[in-house]
């Protein structure tokens, strides 16, 4: 197992290096952002670019980029956006908001999603199942920003239960204060609907299948109650599929949600990646690219490893 994990991690770094090289070269091959600006001295921008090493060969630029990161933990500064601010500082200021909002959302979604899924599976083909399944289809089909607008209009504007926008630090004091949490509720609700529906659907589907398995009959014939059989056997087997999905959701929270963040004024990381490509800010693009690549690769490993823990029959790296 250890050998397998070490091997996967080494491959992860190799993959990451290849992706990083490719992205760096490709983004640098794009023409530089235009410097034509009416009435302004182009030479000034060109001289600045010269100082920043833009005119050096691409692989030399790549080497200098890596050197700055590894020797000084310097990810550069924003050039086309957040001009002059450190990339790392901006990301670290924005990431906590994304994590906190999404974390609350997942913590709400998991129990509700699993609970509804289990209930629907146990009531399969009864009216309760039909209601839950219909709701699941609705919430999976409708994009989250639609709920967001509805939640905002009904709960924040009409009923005035929550503020329209996330509270600022000067209003709420801290990111984990009660006031901040209340202002997060509309965003959490909007993010949760889809996740709850997803968890419900998977749990129902898996559990329905497992419940019809022969070993469930065997468990009951051994004298276990229905509840014992479900919790000890059915749920555990169903989790082989559901738990990786939950882990994936946890890792995915680092990615943020661009639209929800825009609607509720969450100063998170959701917009950064797209904006960095749109305005061609190399430093932001590369830092975010490395960040998201790392998330993707790590989540792959974690999910693969988790299978072994959930179901001992699955042996990682075994040739047998």
């Amino acid at each position: 197992m250890t050998k397998y994990v070490v091997k996967r991690i080494l491959f992860m770094f190799l993959t990451m290096f290849v992706i990083t090289v490719m992205c760096f070269v490709l983004i640098k091959l794009l023409p530089l952002p235009a410097v034509r600006e009416m009435g302004r001295d182009i030479n000034l921008v060109l001289a600045k670019r010269e100082k920043m090493g833009y005119n050096k060969p691409i692989m030399v630029q790549f080497f200098l980029y890596l050197k700055s990161i590894f020797t000084e933990w310097d990810w550069g500064v924003g050039e086309q956006m957040y001009e002059g601010l450190g990339i790392w500082d901006v990301m670290m200021q924005k990431l906590p908001y994304t994590i906190v909002v999404n974390l609350y959302s997942i913590l709400l979604s998991i129990p509700l999603g699993l609970g509804l899924g289990i209930y629907a599976a146990l009531k399969k083909n009864k009216w309760q199942d039909a209601v839950i399944s219909t709701m699941v289809m609705v919430f999976i089909s409708v994009p989250s920003y639609v709920y967001a607008f509805l939640v905002q209009y009904i709960f924040c504007f009409k009923l005035n239960w929550f503020p329209l926008q996330l509270a600022s630090l000067s209003q709420a004091g801290s990111l984990v204060s009660g006031k901040m949490f209340v202002s997060m509720v509309p965003a959490i609700m909007s993010l949760s609907f889809g996740s709850i529906a997803g968890f419900t659907r998977y749990t129902r589907a898996e559990l329905s299948e497992v419940l019809t398995g022969d070993y469930m009959l065997l468990a009951r014939t051994k004298g276990l109650t229905k509840a014992q059989a479900i919790s000890r056997h059915a749920l555990r087997n169903a989790m082989v599929v559901i738990l990786p999905m939950i882990i994936g959701e946890f890792i995915g929270i680092l990615g943020g949600s661009m639209i929800i963040e825009n609607i509720f004024g969450i100063p998170g990381i959701g917009n950064l990646y797209v904006n960095s490509i749109n305005v061609r800010d190399y430093n932001f693009f590369m830092a975010l690219n490395i960040f998201y690549t790392l998330i993707g690769l790590v989540s792959g490993i974690v999910i693969d490893i988790s299978y072994g823990f959930i179901d001992p029959r699955i042996r990682m790296g075994s040739k047998k």
Partner: protein, 833 residues
């Protein structure tokens, strides 16, 4: 059997296709638009008055009897869509107008533009300066190249001794000297440095100090051929071919400027590998496109440069001098015209930074690695004024909170002299400004209706609900939106839709006359007003009187004549004003006549056969509801315009969403697009050279692809000894933008444009505008305005928009409720707008 039938059907289809191709229309290989000449009429030559005009200094002091200094708290709640691009409020390096959202409140300019006492215009008063500027050119005769008898080149500014930073530290002349040294610091290369060497207020040796021995690339002073024969190296701006940064065979990126003798090949990513011109060199581009006799020879001046090494100067050579602790002199490269307005105008901002904080914000690098001191560094970076703790104020407000991408607060800077000097009565009732980030427009409206923000911009879809609100304001902008047609025959033929019909002048003119600008503006824009010309009512041609170019007689006349309206005794309209007021730009009967002529002309020229289907495509940013409506309008009007002509039933329109539609247009890839230009509202004279008449091949700002203004001959009659003068439209536009040596024919006969009175200049520019529009390569649709709602909490000083100062700005906001009263009011009432 089925197989046989299928094969037979397929064969028929193929035969049909091939025969269709064989019969397909092949347009003529080229089309000649013919000689284009334009008579711009007579111009009354009047010299500019000596010393220019004069400005007023009386300012509005608020409503009589109103207490602006009570103890209550008044907060203006505003929002912005994003802070992404407005994170730099350092006066030395700010870049975007978004940056100035903070800068405007935390600095004080040398001179301020305020509402005059009767609220009809602006007055200018000293702010960071203590007095109006004084011309001291005579004191510098023999220095900085200043000759005896010259004026307007050196200006003395007495500094306001009460100006201090928000921590109470007094500002002295030494602070200004230090600040300018940082502004021109060659190791920092601050972005605003060019404000002090590249405009009308260029400080002597500022550029040389900044570039300190480095090379700059400046416009060629002669033809490339003459320069080459004189042994001068000439460089090509690689943006000419759009390949700056393109890799050579070793992966090295192409620099912006490459010698035209350099044969290094760079990969042009726009061309498929293996096809012609997939790899090009500077030499190849010059030889084939820009050299004498080559197709783009006329663009030599735009894209060929000579390298100039900056002179090695010391700070002592720079024209900013400390005279005493509270006096500084600016010594300029050139005299300032109309100094009473333009010296304060150029000094309405400031470049002051606080020395100890600025030094603390510096980090030093040598060849990319961090070093300890500025002396050993080759690059200095600064994060001054990019966060709360690194911000200092010397304006009416100071930054008191800042949360990235969420919110910032500006509060009163109690150390600002204006609160205590008795000269700012009736100003700054606002105690604090809170700006939140609200990205989504629907949320912005909800926040406004809840009373959480005090103003909101409106979009066209909001107008049904709010158009009749008494809280609505229309703020004019200098931008004009127009419909622009591609007239490059070869490019249009490439489109393969027979859209080459657009090269026929009568066709475009007919299309233009089928559009009703009034109808268009009211139906499809939130607040736009019908547009007919290139410059709208925001353009002011006389800064001393504030007269709008669009309201001038020559400007009105240009448009009335453009649309063929006649006025005078026995004509359709009695007066010019009457004709101008009645203008719609719409005449469907005339449009049909023009279309009939266009069809015959197109057939005669072989660019259409009278049968082939024609499809005109409009490229738009996206296919939202409003674009669809506009497109349908154009399609309907075009269909109407061709009724009864040979085009009827053979012409259609399509709409293609294209996020890069401007770029597509600049490469000749579009048939037509919406285009918008504006800015520089105090300089209507320079706009044509900078925006509309610079390059017909998409390499400049001009959007009318294929419309070569360097080939249109325009004649003015100046009367008297000068008589008629003829030159290209492009050269007239350049002359109006103060070009001299580049327009030798005009300059030789008329001298400098700035030597003439505003009335004369206005007549010349009206001629340029008329000539530009005369061939209908574009037609104006609407002048842009921004519609916004203002909260019931706040009052603006003026309901009328005034040049330069708008509605008076935040400095004159007054409040109907203080914060506590407003909170109480919105908690117990539903706001109705």
């Amino acid at each position: 059997m089925k197989k046989v039938l299928a094969l037979a059907a397929a064969s028929c289809l193929m035969v049909g296709t091939v025969s269709g191709l064989a019969e397909g229309f092949t347009p003529a290989p080229s089309y000649d638009v013919g000689e284009r000449t334009f008579y711009a009429g007579t111009v009354n030559l009047e010299a500019a008055p000596v010393g220019g005009g004069s400005i007023t200094t009386d300012i509005y002091a608020g409503e009589e009897g109103k207490d602006y200094t009570d103890e209550k708290m008044y907060t203006f709640n505003d929002f912005t869509s994003a802070l992404t691009s407005s994170m730099n409020w350092d006066v030395l390096s700010w870049e975007t107008s978004d940056d100035s959202a903070i800068t405007d409140y935390i600095i004080t300019g040398f001179y301020g533009f305020h509402m005059n006492s009767d609220k009809t215009g602006y007055s200018i008063t000293p702010e960071a300066a203590a007095e109006m500027p004084v011309d001291v050119t005579a004191e510098y005769v023999g220095q900085y190249g200043i000759k005896e008898g010259e004026t307007g080149k050196a200006w003395r500014i007495a500094l306001n001794p009460d100006l201090c930073f928000n921590d109470g530290t007094k500002v002295t002349a030494d602070d200004y000297v230090y600040s300018m040294q940082q502004q021109l610091n060659p190791k920092i290369l601050n972005r605003r440095a060019d404000s002090w060497y590249d405009g009308t207020f260029s400080i002597v040796n500022a550029k040389n100090y900044l570039y300190a021995g480095k090379t700059t690339y400046d416009a060629i002073p002669d033809t490339a051929e003459n320069l080459l024969s004189a042994g001068t190296e000439v460089y090509l701006d690689m943006s000419f071919w759009g390949i700056v940064g393109a890799p050579d065979a070793d992966g090295n990126p192409a620099p912006q400027y490459v010698s035209i003798a350099d044969e290094t090949l760079y990969r042009d990513a726009a061309v498929e590998e293996g096809k012609a011109e997939d790899w090009v060199s500077a030499k190849y581009l010059f030889d084939n496109y820009l050299a004498a006799g080559a197709p783009y020879e006329s663009y030599q001046g735009d894209y060929l440069k000579v390298a100039n090494a900056a002179k090695d100067v010391t700070w002592e050579d720079v024209g900013l001098k400390k005279i005493d602790d509270y006096t500084i002199d600016f010594v300029l490269e050139a005299a300032v015209a109309e100094p009473a307005f333009y010296v304060p105008y150029n000094l309405s901002g400031n470049f002051l930074v606080k020395k100890d904080l600025y030094e603390a914000c510096k980090t030093f690098y040598k060849e990319g690695a961090q070093v300890e001191t500025e002396e050993e560094a080759d690059e200095v970076k600064s994060d001054y004024c990019r966060s709360l703790e690194k911000t200092v104020s010397y304006g009416p407000y100071m930054l008191t909170s800042f949360q990235l991408d969420k919110e910032y607060t500006l509060s009163r800077n109690e150390n600002w002299f204006g609160y205590h000097d008795g000269k700012h009565l009736g100003q700054y009732q606002t105690d604090a400004i809170v700006v939140s980030v609200i990205a989504d427009h629907a949320t912005q409206l909800l926040a406004f209706e809840k009373g959480e923000v005090d103003g909101v911009g409106l979009q066209s879809e909001d107008m049904d609900k709010y158009a009749s609100s008494k809280y609505i304001h229309y703020t004019p902008q200098s931008y004009t939106t127009k419909l622009t047609w591609n007239t490059d025959y070869a490019k249009l033929v490439e489109h393969g839709t027979n859209s080459q019909i657009l090269v026929i002048d009568e066709f475009r003119k007919g299309f233009a006359f089928a559009l009703d600008a009034n109808d268009f503006a009211t139906s499809y824009t939130a607040a736009g007003t019908a547009g007919f010309g290139m410059l709208n009512y925001m353009y002011c041609y006389n800064p001393f009187t504030g007269e709008a170019y669009r309201d001038s007689v020559p400007a009105k006349k240009a448009l009335v004549e453009l649309f063929g309206m006649e006025y005078g005794e026995g004509k359709d309209y009695a007066t010019l004003d009457e004709a101008y007021e009645a203008m719609t730009g719409y005449n469907m009967d005339y449009a049909r006549e023009l279309m009939a002529v266009a069809a015959d002309k197109a057939i005669e020229a072989g660019i259409w056969d009278g049968e082939a289907a024609i499809t005109l495509d409009i490229r738009v940013y996206n296919s939202d509801e409003i674009y669809n409506k506009m497109y349908n309008y154009f399609k309907t009007q075009l269909t109407e315009a061709v009724k009864g002509t040979k085009f009827e039933g053979k012409i259609d329109m399509t709409m293609t969403p294209d996020a890069d539609y401007y770029e597509t247009n600049y490469s000749g890839g579009a048939d037509m697009i919406f285009t918008t230009w504006g800015g520089a509202a105090m300089d209507p004279f320079g706009v044509f050279a900078r925006c509309y008449c610079d390059a017909s091949d998409g390499s400049g700002n001009q959007m009318e692809y294929g419309y070569d203004t360097s080939k249109i001959m325009v004649t003015y009659d100046f009367g008297g000894e000068i008589g008629e003068v003829t030159d290209t439209l492009q050269h007239w536009a350049m002359w109006a933008n103060n070009a001299t040596a580049d327009v030798p024919v005009i300059f030789e006969k008329l001298g400098a444009f700035a030597d003439y009175a505003y009335s004369t200049r206005c007549e010349v520019v009206a001629g340029v505008e008329h000539a530009f529009l005369n061939w209908f390569t574009t037609t104006s649709l609407y002048y842009r305005n921004v519609a916004s709602l203002t909260s019931q909490k706040v009052n603006w000083a003026s309901d009328t928009y005034l040049n330069v100062i708008g509605f008076g700005g935040l400095e004159y906001y007054t409040y109907n409720y203080d914060d506590a009263a407003w909170a109480d009011y919105i908690a117990n009432n539903t706001l109705v707008y």
